[in-house]
Symmetry: C2
Subunit: 329 residues, 2 copies
């Protein structure tokens, strides 16, 4: 078997690669939590995550690889209900890289870290042959306190909320590659809105940040991990006019388009409207909306994600198949 | 300015790159500890570090990139006196990579993690275009307990110990590239020997694992950080016969050759012989030796590293200049 681009898509081939190679080699009770970040015992529990960023182009409308590298890791910690504290960064630089670009990326990291309230606490740099490319790995540590946020907590009757419009980052990257710079990326740290939810006393069951593979892939993973059905309503999913027309032009479905500043939040239905009210007061969540609900599968049914279409039909959505947009993050 | 291979050497150009770009962009009190890993406040203190591995060839006599990726991070934690606990791994795979090689690397990681007693607790995979190469970032968390191990603790009169022969990893990599597979890498986890030192009640002041840039570069950094002179005795530095002849053939100085399984330990001179005794009972430290001592600079002298040569002279050693051996780790 040879590695192909689709192994990095975040969809089914990525999952298979992980199951067949990494889980087999060193699966353990922590890795098998299968959440965006891993909760680890400590005197106080800490959340710990890692992510590499290989986005191209490295600078795009609305952000750059540096902002992405901080926000991606911060959001993985926030999705566990953790308060992000420390980030490490490992740079792999291809020979010929313009130092100005590197400097700009480092400065973006600093700004994003300041905004998110995290410290860049460890670093490393390597240089390899190549064509001037830039890769950044970040890992992150967050403090967990008494919060218990995970897919297994999802219950029938829960509501599904998304914190804003979907598809923006995907459209920004693809647009930039095609020379159509009309859509800005949504790349942003989401720990502020997560804190607001907890401060309001809301009983958040599970969260995921919506990245590679898009909203549908994330919700499929949540359905599977919780062994529940999830149904979403196509008309309720926030999509900006710019992304809608871009997606139409490109033949893309917004629910499979990647984001870098959107959170899916699952909590009891009776708290949903209040949660949306809290979110809409937050930066980066002005367009938060309830988009669906969780319900119990019939005996021996496999948990699945369905969407009610605008025309009144219902169809099943699966995780993203194939390679998606390569190097989107 | 363009990035060149020397920026990844671990020597002076790497340092300048860090100072001029990363420290400027997001320097903070934690990053400025300038130790192999960063000690962070928490309910119990944790040590946190990151390292990317880009070694070529990815499989070499005595090890491979997977073993290296675990041991490098474990050793950075151990060098702070921390007990390594958790490791994250971020893979960047170039399209065309043979999955067998990836599998072998993952298995090596698992074995090394088991040997070192750490859990691989978070992971990520990306795929990029390229020529089938493999990059691995690991970050690590260790528990610090009551130990305070850092360069600033170094005192005049301290002894300098190295845990074994130097230059083995460098000779293994360069030999493999040249088709002369005579020397095995020393890649190994060193946390076992560090625990043995603490269990024996030894008052370790500072440690560093000896990697890129070699013994001389590490000792220069310790001299500078502690504002002390360090003098080592060339004849006391352990070098295997195979590395000695390889270095002679290649015109290399063993003190500038990279290692991946050697620790420098600095503690009070009166404890030095006992420490060497403890080390020699440990796996990977059979050839431990006292190689030098620390003394006070005259007023306004800059701290420096000197070596007494076999011929009785003394010369000053600086950090590795230029690029060293690219992609040694």
């Amino acid at each position: 078997m040879k590695i192909v681009m689709a192994h990095g898509s975040g969809g089914d081939m990525t999952r298979r690669l992980i199951e067949e190679i990494f889980s087999k080699a060193y699966g353990n009770e922590y890795l098998s939590q299968l959440e965006d970040s891993t909760v680890l015992p400590c005197e106080t529990k800490i959340a710990y995550t890692t992510d590499s960023f290989v986005v191209t182009p490295p600078v795009f409308p609305g952000g750059d690889i540096g902002r992405l590298a901080i926000c991606g890791t911060v959001n993985d910690l926030a999705a566990r209900g953790a308060v992000p504290k420390y980030v490490s960064c490992g740079f792999i630089l291809e020979e010929g890289l313009d130092a100005e670009l590197l400097k700009k990326a480092a400065e973006s990291m600093a700004l994003a870290a300041k905004e998110a309230g995290v410290l860049i606490a460890a670093g490393d740099t390597k240089v390899v042959e190549g064509k001037g490319g830039l890769y950044i790995n970040t890992s992150g540590i967050g403090f967990v306190y008494e919060r218990d946020v995970k897919a297994k907590n999802i219950r029938s009757g829960d509501a599904v909320i998304v914190s804003g419009t979907v598809g923006d980052h995907h459209a920004a990257i693809l647009g930039a590659r095609l020379g159509m710079q009309s859509v800005s990326s949504d790349v942003a740290p989401l720990n502020g809105m997560v804190e607001a939810l907890f401060e309001a006393g809301l009983n958040v069951h599970a969260m995921r940040d919506v990245t590679r593979g898009g909203l549908a892939t994330v919700l499929c993973e949540l359905a599977e991990a919780s062994e529940k059905h999830i149904e979403i309503d196509e008309e309720k999913i926030p999509v900006s006019a710019a992304v809608k027309s871009f997606a139409g032009l490109m033949g893309l479905e917004p629910v499979y388009m990647g984001n870098e500043g959107k959170m899916v939040i699952i909590l009891p239905a009776k708290e949903a409207e209040r949660a949306v009210g809290v979110l809409r007061m937050c930066k980066y969540a002005e367009n938060a909306a309830v988009i669906g609900h969780v319900y119990e599968p019939e005996k021996e049914e496999k948990p699945e994600l369905t969407v009610k279409t605008a025309l009144g039909g219902t169809r099943v959505l699966d995780v993203l198949a194939g390679e998606g947009l390569p190097r989107i993050c």
